[in-house]
């Protein structure tokens, strides 16, 4: 299968801190890569390197014609600004050269009503806003989605819905998905491959090979149930 992304001995360093070292993996077209690992393992940094937002050493090659839809984990933005969900989506659609009519379609696919989308983003709940961000990433006909904990702060049915949505998009449009998750059950269910990061080590392979109690113990330094102590 053709690869959408090839990463070869990728390293990222911030001053004296080596965040990622000698990372190598491939992402076949249409597959789903889960990135897991404890806090501070460099998962978000990896995403930022992939979109060219942070300098790195080593090889990183996207296939030609890749259009990335990105859902960041955290925004620098203050939410009290008078910008509506529709304002955001319209801006993105205009940049992508898409007609504004597509916005309604994108909104309904993530389950956000027009009424809610017309409100200022500051008045939206955490879950609504998160879904809006997914909608935002879907504008511009992406063929690769980078999702940094897209279901954080979303209630249980909402999480289910978002995960199903991403899965359905992937099947319908042949999207390639890279997602960061702390939900091992979601990783089991949807991932083709898993990249498990920890400060010193990285493991890459099929979920069955990676999500073993021994390996998780080693990476998280705690037992298999996914609870990492704040250090």
């Amino acid at each position: 299968m053709e690869n959408v992304l090839e990463v070869n001995q990728l390293s990222v360093r911030f001053g004296a801190t080596q965040v990622l070292s000698d990372l190598s993996f491939q992402v076949p077209r249409g597959s789903s890569l889960a990135i897991i690992g404890p806090n501070g393992a460099g998962k978000t940094v990896l995403f930022r390197a992939l979109i060219g937002a942070t300098p790195f050493q080593g090889g990183l090659q996207w296939a030609p014609g890749v259009r990335i839809g990105y859902v960041p984990q955290k925004l620098d933005l203050e939410r009290d600004i008078p910008i509506t969900g529709v304002d955001f989506l319209r801006a993105r659609a205009a940049l992508a050269g898409e007609p504004a009519a597509n916005i309604a379609r994108v909104l309904s696919s993530v389950g956000v009503s027009q009424t809610i989308a017309r409100q200022p983003i500051g008045t939206m709940s955490g879950g609504q806003f998160q879904r809006l961000l997914v909608a935002f990433a879907l504008v511009g006909e992406p063929n690769v989605l980078l999702l940094d904990e897209p279901t954080a702060g979303v209630d249980e049915p909402g999480q289910e819905r978002l995960n199903e949505l991403v899965h359905r998009l992937q099947e319908d449009r042949g999207l390639t998905v890279l997602f960061i998750s702390h939900e091992l059950s979601v990783v089991y269910r949807y991932a083709t491959n898993v990249l498990c990061l920890s400060r010193a080590l990285a493991f890459f392979g099929a979920p069955r090979a990676i999500l073993t109690p021994e390996l998780l113990d080693q990476v998280y330094g705690a037992h298999m149930e996914y609870h990492v102590h704040d250090e």
Binding site: Y70, A91, L95
Partner: protein, 252 residues
């Protein structure tokens, strides 16, 4: 007031209202003031060389914007320290270089005779600023949500940031005649801050900010003529008065 002066002041007010919206949303409210101070040494040099002060000010503001841009890549705390030190020092040095009438006029604005180079510069600059906001509004919004998302949408974030800061500096240069280096930051920030409180969408925020800015400029200018006071302080007082009134309305 002559019609040329009126035209120029309205153009300035429109530009200030538009740029202010993005400055407030980008949390640049506190950076706006010190950045405007950097114009003073430029005015001093221009006066010494017998050039129109606005060109000296614009040149210094350009370098000030470049400095802020270069610093933005670094830690936020460092940026604030440097802005606090460098831009205040610029104000001090500029004050030493300029003196008497000229200093007061540079600090608070003054109404010297309007010469055509200033008129041409002012209208061209205001036009460029309005065009920038209208043309790049979508990129600015996406960059506001997340610079990382903006990158994936094909926006050159560093380049757009630089352009934004330069347009911001140009807006300050535009207001020096009326408000001076100490008060121009306020006309950019206050109407936009008022609009942010009242608006429920981007379009309404931009429209309200422009409205408040033009209103404050027009009323402040009329009051100044009537009360025989300086224009700049009255414009800012009116703008601040409108902001205080907006506090009466509960946040949506």
């Amino acid at each position: 007031m002559t019609s040329e002066l009126l035209l120029l002041s309205v153009a300035m007010a429109v530009a200030a209202g538009l740029m202010g919206c993005f400055a407030v949303m980008r949390r640049m409210a506190l950076a706006a003031d010190p950045l405007s101070h950097v114009a003073l040494p430029g005015i001093g040099v221009a006066l010494a060389l017998h050039i129109h002060p606005i060109f000296g000010a614009a040149a210094m503001l350009f370098f000030g914007a470049l400095l802020v841009w270069a610093l933005e890549d670094r830690a936020r705390a460092a940026t604030e320290t440097v802005i606090g030190v460098v831009f205040s020092a610029a104000l001090a040095i500029g004050s030493l270089m300029t003196s008497g009438e000229n200093l007061i006029e540079a600090l608070f604005g003054g109404a010297g005779a309007l010469k055509w180079p200033e008129m041409v510069f002012g209208l061209a600059a205001a036009g460029a600023i309005v065009l920038f906001v209208v043309a790049r509004r979508n990129s600015l919004i996406v960059m506001l949500v997340s610079p990382d998302v903006a990158r994936t949408a094909g926006i050159n974030v560093r380049h757009l940031n630089l352009l934004y800061l330069q347009m911001f500096a140009l807006t300050i240069a535009l207001g020096l005649r009326y408000l001076g280096v100490l008060l121009m930051g306020a006309l950019i920030i206050i109407p936009a801050a008022t609009a942010k409180r009242l608006a429920r969408s981007l379009g309404s925020m931009l429209a309200l900010a422009v409205g408040f800015s033009v209103f404050a400029t027009a009323l402040g200018t009329s009051l100044a003529a009537w009360l025989h006071r300086e224009t700049g302080p009255l414009i800012v007082s009116v703008a601040a008065g409108v902001f205080l009134l907006s506090l009466a309305r509960r946040q949506p």
